[in-house]
């Protein structure tokens, strides 16, 4: 579904990702693991069109490089970005409405908003409240729900557990697992390796802009040395 070859991501003169290749098949949950500065978020930014990149990014047979950010969303790529970036000056409901900005089916949008308010009653209770008043975990749920309002074909999740309490992290991962079981294709960026590997099918380990290891989560799980490094116990 998403096929990336020899991707290099550039921030001005600095190259953050040095020619990586990765694939996400339909219905899969693929995780990019790695420490800070490994190039995980840069890869996500390049897929969204926010960061400058060279190489090949093919999505459903369509070449994405050189297309505008908006067109990539319309092609079916939605992102819940690092730092969540919810619209804190707008109401919770308005955030979801904007998430559906590319859709025109008013009734469907209403129904989907109601769906999220039922799934996360806390968001429903605060539908008219400004989104900036939500807690970190609630903002993360809103950010994911907002991304899903566009009815994407693939969901990019950039560090959804960042800065959240362990109990909330569990909830977020349950939500991602639920989405996966409903057939959503997911590309997940995480530092929380244990949780991420639990729910994904395939994983890539990035470090300093290159892929150090890759494999199905079952294979990676058997590599004790790697697991120790990833989970910070080594």
């Amino acid at each position: 579904m998403l096929d990336i070859r020899n991707l290099k991501v550039l921030y001005g003169p600095i190259e953050a990702v040095h020619g990586i290749s990765l694939r996400v098949e339909e219905g899969q949950c693929v995780t990019l693991l790695g420490p800070n500065g490994a190039g995980k978020s840069s890869t996500i930014s390049a897929i969204c069109g926010v960061a400058k990149a060279t190489g090949d990014i093919t999505f459903l047979g369509q070449d994405l490089l050189g297309t505008e950010i908006e067109d990539r969303v319309r092609a079916g790529i939605s992102v819940s970005p690092e730092g969540r970036r919810i619209f804190s000056n707008l109401s919770v409901e308005a955030n979801l409405q904007l998430g559906a900005g590319i859709r025109t089916d008013r009734d469907g949008i209403e129904a989907d908003i109601d769906h999220w308010f039922t799934t996360f009653p806390i968001l429903g209770e605060r539908r008219t409240q400004s989104a900036g008043t939500l807690s970190g975990g609630e903002q993360q749920m809103l950010a994911i729900a907002r991304a899903l309002m566009a009815k994407p074909k693939i969901l990019l999740l950039d560090e959804p557990s960042l800065g959240l309490a362990p109990r909330i992290v569990g909830q977020i991962f349950d939500m991602i697992e639920q989405l996966k079981s409903e057939g959503m294709t997911i590309l997940l960026v995480e530092q929380n390796a244990r949780q991420a590997l639990r729910i994904s099918d395939y994983a890539y380990l990035l470090n300093t802009g290159t892929i150090q290891a890759e494999g199905t989560t079952a294979t990676l799980g058997q590599n004790d040395e790697l697991m120790a490094k990833l989970t910070g116990l080594g």
């Binding site: 969540r84 804190s88 308005a94």
Partner: protein, 298 residues
Amino acid sequence: MDYAIQQMVNALSFGAEYALLALGLAIVFSVMGLVNFAHGDVIAVGGYTMVAFAAIVTANPWIVILGAIVAAALTSVLLERVAFRPVRYADPTTGLLTAFGVSIVLQNLFLLFVSPRPIAVTSLYFMDVPIEMFGVQVSSLQLLESVTTVLVIVGLTLFLNRSVWGLAMRAASLDFEMVRLMGIRANRVFALAFLISGLLAGLACIFIMARRGSVDPHLGFNPVLKAFVACVVGGFGSLPGAVLGGFLLGAVEVGMLVLLPQEYGGMKDAFVFGIIALILVWRPNGILSPAVEKGDKL
């Protein structure tokens, strides 16, 4: 008593005009961080359109007015397309200089192709008749101006809170890239901001022209200056701030006119700006400046 009410009406109508002007600046600034100093020249385009319509097409004042509003709106959108789009993501100072450049070019076009002298527009005289309300003499123009501004504020508030495009514009003022990541086209959001700004310029143009009765190449300078001051006082980027700043500026100006003795009359502006400076000492970012934090980035 009558005198006091009379002056309050004056303050209100001046304030309404400044608020209308300031909103035109603020809506563009809030979305793209551009102080559009060419806003005044968009007003002048409206004025010249009135001249052209009255001379060539018809003397019907309603058509002349409609023509001016449409011309101002189209000019504003056109300026975005040809002048501001290329510098959209550039440094704010680049945008500011571009706006000055556009302003100078437009003023020189008026000088070269129309006339350096003021041209009279008589079609709008009918708007300014004295009427008596509750025993106070007011001008119909002042009344119209205040009512129009209130309607504009109500309309804008509804638009920005209820429609998806309005919400997108508010979201864009916080995080434009994220709005694009919703698939909402940046080009449309910018064009819309300039369209609204142009419509506001067109409305302001009517009242300015009705009061002055003539247009010259520098028609826009004073209005855009007032709008800028109102925005600074109210807090740049905040639409309620622009409205508040506009009304405050109107009140301070009229207050100075009333309170200053005759022989100091020429120093009115010095006192007005002195008070503005004091307000800025109290609130350096303007009274209703938007909060600076951009959500919680970790």
